[in-house]
Symmetry: D2
Subunit: 342 residues, 4 copies
């Protein structure tokens, strides 16, 4: 059930709706919008009786939701969401650039890259302290020590920190040191973890699973939002196919397909999406051209010595060139993006 308030609805009228939802034993999710406020209801089994709401003062409409997702949907919030991450924004007019190394290795490596990223004008820094590795014998990340280095990057360079958590302990740590919790592709349907980050009030970067459908991705976001955390950024990072010229198959059609259904921002990860240095730049350009709200890019001063995923990292100067290119493409799009987004 979705309650759409009149543009003229008062705060008291909205509060009255919230109260009734709670009295019925359900959970209200309030979504303020440009022209009107909507209230999503979860926690109900079966249909909610519209009669509870449709005649209340300030209520414009009470709509039954027939799609599997509610809170991610544009039905609830027709305009696109802009998510605040630290002092930056993802989903707004400006292209969001998140750059940094795959893994935090040591302060020198991190600061060297952070300097490049900050100088480029990007607002977000990435770097993993907890690394989900296919093999138990591969480098697993520096843990809290790595997060402290990232926190220093924020202090020194004013960059907002996006970093992955793999479990509840990791979420608590990232909550302490970072600005945005990344949930990796392999955890996209780790529903317990989704619920846990849903209980935090930190923005979540949710990566699409390797074989996740659009619906599954949206429902994973719905898991987070149903717990009351509405700051979710979706990320396409390549799906698994039969192809072998790239590590994954970057499915760019999912970006406009998601924008058609959801108000959440969508970014693209051409580094994991291709796994090959020489493919990152063209696919980053394509990601912005297709309408993504931002990019997440791996940068390393010395890719061949990287402890993780060196083959896909860009050199600092490659990163700077890429950034200029995608900003120019974004400029071409600007008037169109608005039309398309409706």
């Amino acid at each position: 059930m979705l309650i759409v308030m009149k543009p003229t609805a008062t705060e008291a009228e909205i509060d009255r709706v919230l109260e009734i939802v709670e009295t019925l034993g359900f959970r209200p999710h309030i979504m303020p919008g440009a022209s009107r406020t909507a209230i999503g209801i979860t926690g109900n089994r079966g249909a909610v009786d519209r009669a509870h709401f449709e005649n209340l003062p300030g209520v414009s409409d009470a709509i039954r939701v027939t799609k599997p997702y509610k809170l991610v949907s544009k039905d609830l919030r027709p305009e696109r969401s802009v998510i605040k991450v630290g002092n930056g924004e993802i989903g707004g007019d400006e292209l969001a650039m998140i750059a940094g190394p795959c893994a935090v290795e040591n302060p020198d490596q991190v600061f060297e890259i952070a300097q490049v990223v900050a100088a480029s004008g990007a607002k977000f820094f990435r770097g993993g302290a907890f690394k989900p590795r296919t093999s138990p014998y591969a480098f697993q990340g520096k843990g809290e020590e790595g997060l402290k280095i990232l926190a220093e990057v924020r202090d020194q360079f004013g960059l907002n920190i996006v970093t992955e958590a793999m479990d509840e302990h990791g979420v608590d740590m990232v909550n302490k040191y970072g600005d945005c919790i990344q949930i990796g592709a392999r955890n996209m349907q780790n529903f317990s973890l989704l619920k846990y980050v849903g209980k935090t009030r930190m923005p979540v970067l949710l990566k699409r699973g390797l074989s996740a459908t659009l619906d599954e991705l949206l429902l994973a976001a719905e898991y987070i939002m149903a717990e009351g955390n509405y700051d979710v950024i979706l990320c396409e990072r390549g799906i698994r196919s039969f192809g072998s010229h790239a590590r994954n198959t970057l499915d760019l059609s999912v970006v406009p397909a998601l924008h058609k259904i959801t108000h959440l921002p969508v970014i693209v990860d051409p580094s994991h999406g291709t796994g090959r240095n020489y493919l990152v730049d063209p696919l980053a350009r394509a990601g912005i051209a297709v309408g993504a709200d931002g990019l997440i890019i791996e940068v390393h001063p010395c890719p061949e010595e990287a402890l993780c995923d060196g083959a896909q990292a860009l050199l600092p100067n490659q990163y700077l060139e890429l950034y200029e290119q995608v900003k120019a493409i974004r400029k071409v799009l600007t008037p169109v993006a608005e039309t398309v987004s409706v």
Copy 2:
């Protein structure tokens, strides 16, 4: 590194090797075998010097492992592992049948099915108390209440309980009430969870992820074993493909491909592997014909009322017929299976 002891090695000689491994700061994994004991070493970065071991009394050989996996490998243990689950065994001569409802719904439903399963001669009972559901609004399982019902099934019917855990809390609960922890397909690369179950001493049924390669499945098992829990059962449950005649594409070739590399037992789940009632029986037959060590089958007295996955559940009498058929096929295979397994 893999230390192969002589068939004549004494316990003291074995202990001496374990001690040296620990002194070096590594972790020894002892694998007793029919003809000789082997000791796997993990925790090393880079190669271990063979000189530490090759001249010790009782040591036959010190072999560098070049494959990405160590403890799952037949190099460590040439004969197949037989895993004890409660008072039953998986991986031995007898086909292991695990049957029961998708989800624990209520005592009546569970006991009705358990009676059928026990009467059929199966030793293992399945039923989910924690359900990983694509939607946050779908039935999420009965939790501890469900586990208590399952514990009663064990007490009343002598069946060994196989049930899923989705997080650390769930693992603790299953450890308390069940006999075997199932890790679902969507958590196959939830590495934190794998490490956690690796620290228990309860057998683990590890389901292959929807787009996991053979190597990724083996390395997920390696995560568990590297923590000291060697009782892992692998399960093929269908991969994601373009096909739509079944919910998933059951990849039966992975069964002999796994048996070629690993000593761990491999079972097949034709219920999730097909998602359609009428396909469960033929694919169960095929799973046994291809050489699987067992099956996990969903049974429900009233599939159209099931709270979860009714479309793939068998009626009790369908299940009984299936069981007879697969036992007859298993009999045909018996002499071959031994040849194939080498």
Copy 3:
């Protein structure tokens, strides 16, 4: 439109229906069955008026077909079709075994294998004279010279010849020398070729394309049948997926899924379906266990010297063992197969 005749319908009554269909400018396809004859109509654009037929003597029913396929469907012919190939049958009670080398290389090679195949009791011999190869520089087959060798195999050993054609010229050649035209996976949607073989009166072995859905496979068969050739045998030979432990992913669930919809026989090719010698035997067993009507198996006395696909060929003694195993599994199934087929 599908005209179902009464069990008591006379030949004259059937002829009258055929005549009317032709008068309307459509094409009638007569399908005699165990209990009644049915007549499929193709060539119509839009719906055919039932009034033309429903009151004719001998007509039981005139049914509008809403599925995309007509002639392949069990609606037209409820019982399974048994296809005559030379003096053998595919689709009947007996498991059909088609064995032989991938490519015809020379008379000695072919006769050596033919002797093994004939001695095993198999009725069908495979061997390619026209080889669809990924590279233009790979061995392309012996052409007509190869077909002459195959014709000699028939004369000497009484085996029925199944061999591939890749174009109209090849179809004419196979029509001259062989007993069954194979259409390879890469030509499954070569619609011009399908129409051309549809105009012959030779049985067609139609292999499923590497990424063909069940519907696409059935519609490819429909292309052949719409031209008047009703003797089509379907073949699952593996689909393309992300997996790398086998060359293809054998999708055995398609066998019962096809049997549910179509009256055509379905066989399995575990040689191309796996591409690895050690996987052929277990997947052949699984193919028969899942309910396939037969197998097509590559045999070579010296696989490492084969000009094509040696890695998947069985040695003669491996083939003989496999044949014994699958016959034993078939025996287990027999009563079930009948139930399943309805």
Copy 4:
């Protein structure tokens, strides 16, 4: 074997090499380049002895080719090929736009669209007279009548005609009426057809198969080139995956991956690549941003009445907007494209 001539080599010296290749019983393929001419050799079994060539006057180097493809490779021709199609070019500095209806339906429909396409400044017109349809009962195209309409479009509007052939007869027809033969995705490995178009001297637009790897696509082109037709344009049109938000998954990473290996131009088909009207525009932008040499786009004045694939056709004004956008993006790329192409 690949013979690289010196930049100073005379025509006589080149002729001498060609002559020797032919004397050896092989086929020479001459590839003139900006700075030097190279000669590819096919038809050899096993290695060619370098001694035949390395000391000839004018020869710079004789290189053994170890990759599976020869003539498509940048080893043979380091600079990108520009293919002449009628009076237009594909692969050069200018973005190639091929637009038109899916199928030729009638003169009015075709001329209406042709007017839009010509007015937009595009040089190429698409439209199918022979349609490969999944069902034998779907509209199969107008055949020669359709081709005549297309020939009139060329006469009236000066557009160059790109149209599909499905068999030898179709190739002969297209050769008579059109400017470029399209080989559809389902015929990408119809090797007989590839050889046949290789014998024409008309440019070929070769679409990637639904599950074709990069190597398979290049080897399909190699089939055409080995017959002496070097004018091949590659086209990415979406691969088959598990996704369902679009009809196919457009794999844009294949564009730079192909450009890295081959000198042939690569275009993108976002119409078939997505199958949904609203996705065509963003994916067209992405296709150009990723570096494609052109686009092939379906346009229809009245998509809901189209006899074929209406769901993916653009309205004329949508097409015009798209064209403006992609030209603007192309302008952003221009300096980069050159760097990337090396």
